[in-house]
């Protein structure tokens, strides 16, 4: 099974209790598959009870990437969380575990 790790790069971080994850297609031809694979439902299911709020996904056609926002997903924010990855630098890579869904 092809995973997102095979076609995308990520950079993640924190904004309060929101985890922001930028997912970039590793080359332009993979962008449609990134768009299809990274859905709010898939992301929310993947991270389970670590995400207490909504997940939003915003396409960025200009850079062949998507912006993923996971609300209330950092255990209360960088200064309050009990997790070691206080600023959400590592959690973003977890999204690369998503299977690639593609009708293309």
């Amino acid at each position: 099974m092809k995973l997102l790790r095979d076609i995308a790069y990520v950079r993640s971080g924190d904004k309060g209790d929101t985890v922001s994850i930028g997912v970039l297609a590793s080359s332009p031809e993979h962008y449609p598959a990134v768009l299809e694979s990274v859905t709010p439902e898939a992301v929310k299911t993947l991270f389970g009870d670590w995400v207490k709020g909504d997940v939003e996904v915003y396409p960025m056609d200009n850079i062949e990437g998507v912006m993923v926002l996971m609300r209330r997903a950092l255990g209360g924010g960088a200064t309050r969380t009990l997790r070691l990855d206080q600023t959400g630098k590592a959690i973003g890579n977890g999204i690369l575990r998503l299977p690639v869904v593609s009708g293309h």
Partner: protein
């Protein structure tokens, strides 16, 4: 020829390397050097220092940094803009004046930018019935944290930086202006742009460039998914923005420095710690990150253009830092064979110890280091016997005494624990400053600027 201005990113956070800033001054041919130091938590820590000593409360690193940078900046004619004033820009500026005198520098103008500190007027804001809803949680009961507030700072725009540069400041020392304003300020000053609808697109371009620059090495190969392809990252050059009056810019770095600038290093940073990319909200304006065109125009040269945007929002973000109990934390490590079973047993024993010690807590969190610490529920269950794993426990308590029990219980497992249990140095309890982000009317914040002369 189109007028242009060169900006250098000399620091991306408190603790960043100094040598790349020196390199930028020596070889970057930059007009402005921005030194950025503040994170959301920092203001609460600095405000506490100021409370203990009214001459402190700025970033301590600022002083040795200015000692190293001022003579070079003077020689090259580069102006320095920093938010290292933290919770006490005035004390920082006075200290920097002393540094300049000690170095024998004269004719320097050092500007103090203040007005971001909302603590003195917080009472009035609350009394006026201002809506201080927490942007993260939706909570509205600000009174519940009112008596634990350590800091309240508005993210202010570049207006006072622009005023300082117009008055000839060589160094501008601010507190909680937005990181972004350290870059937007000099661009708007150089080109005479204003915070109005007519300049919204130009300012949006400056905001976008500021975003790319503000974490320094993060735009030149740091934090990259393509880490293996990034050359000599320990000697990474920090970014330079060559900004043109036509609202385009080229991101580059000092020739021969480590790291890399290509379309990907810039795209990677465009998506870093932002919200809705169509509306990147800054006090200076709103940039649409889905409009920007990013193209490689040479080795280590990436051009940004076509940025769209809107005029500044009517509200400013204010972050309130407040005392919120303590965190007690511990780590234990277990060897093969049966490493996971050892960790399971240790977790059970720790819970028994917490019970015996009467630990009072409102939140507890366990990680299996090497298994699920970083990705949590997204991590697959191991179907093998790992060489080694760790168990991490973190507990939120009301008091330091309770948090101390976590350290004690972890130490007690040195001998009560499963065979092979090993430890590093026990971790001290730490106080928690939680953050309450909210919006306040722009009109309730007034920036001030004053120039000190050496």
């Amino acid at each position: 020829m189109t007028k242009h201005v060169r900006l250098g990113a000399g620091s991306g956070f408190w603790g960043d390397a100094l040598d790349p800033a020196v390199e930028l001054l020596e070889k970057g041919e930059i007009d402005y050097l921005a030194m950025e130091y503040l994170a959301e938590l920092t203001m609460a820590l600095l405000q506490r220092q100021k409370l203990k000593n009214p001459k402190l409360g700025y970033i301590p690193d600022l002083i040795p940094h200015m000692q190293a940078l001022l003579p070079l900046a003077k020689e090259k004619g580069t102006r320095i803009i920093t938010n290292g004033g933290g919770a006490n820009p005035r004390a920082a500026a006075e200290k920097v004046c002393d540094v300049a005198r000690d170095l024998g520098l004269t004719g320097l103008k050092i500007a103090v930018v203040e007005g971001d500190d909302i603590l003195p007027q917080l009472e009035d804001l609350v009394a006026s019935g201002a809506d201080l809803t927490n942007l993260d949680t939706g909570e509205t009961h600000f009174a519940g944290i009112r008596n634990r507030v350590a800091a309240a700072n508005a993210y202010t725009d570049s207006s006072a930086i622009i005023a300082a540069l117009a008055d000839g400041a060589d160094v501008v020392i601010a507190g909680r202006v937005s990181d972004n304003a350290l870059y937007v300020g000099p661009v708007m000053h150089e080109f005479g742009w204003r915070h109005d609808a007519a300049h919204a697109r130009q300012v949006a371009a400056a905001i976008t460039v500021g975003h790319i620059m503000e974490c320094a090495a993060a735009a030149t190969g740091g934090m990259s998914s393509r880490f293996a392809e990034m050359p000599r990252m320990g000697e990474a050059g920090f970014p330079i923005a060559d900004f043109s009056e036509d609202a385009t810019a080229v991101i580059t770095k000092v020739e021969g420095s480590g790291g890399k600038v290509d379309a990907f290093t810039v795209k990677e940073h465009l998506v870093y710690e932002i919200g809705d990319p169509r509306e990147y909200l800054m006090p200076d304006g709103v940039a649409d990150f889905t409009s920007v065109r990013i193209e490689e125009v040479g080795p280590d040269r990436v051009k940004l253009s076509e940025v769209d945007g809107k005029a500044p929002p009517e509200t400013l973000k204010m972050v309130v830092g407040y005392e919120d109990g303590w965190i007690g934390e511990g780590m234990l490590f277990f060897p093969w064979p049966n490493a996971i079973a050892r960790a399971d047993k240790a977790k059970e024993s720790l819970m028994e110890r917490f019970e015996r010690l009467g630990l009072s807590f409102d939140q507890i969190h366990f990680d299996y280091i090497g298994i699920d610490m970083l990705h949590g529920p997204a991590s697959p269950k191991p179907d093998y016997d790992p060489s080694e794993i760790g168990l991490r426990v973190a507990v939120h308590t009301d008091t330091k005494e309770e948090a101390e029990k976590v350290r004690r219980a972890c130490s007690q497992l040195w001998i009560m624990g499963p065979g092979g249990t090993s430890f590093g140095t026990p971790i001290k309890p730490r106080p928690v400053y939680a953050l309450w982000p909210t919006l306040i009317p722009r009109g309730s914040v007034s920036q001030t600027m004053e120039i000190l002369e050496v």
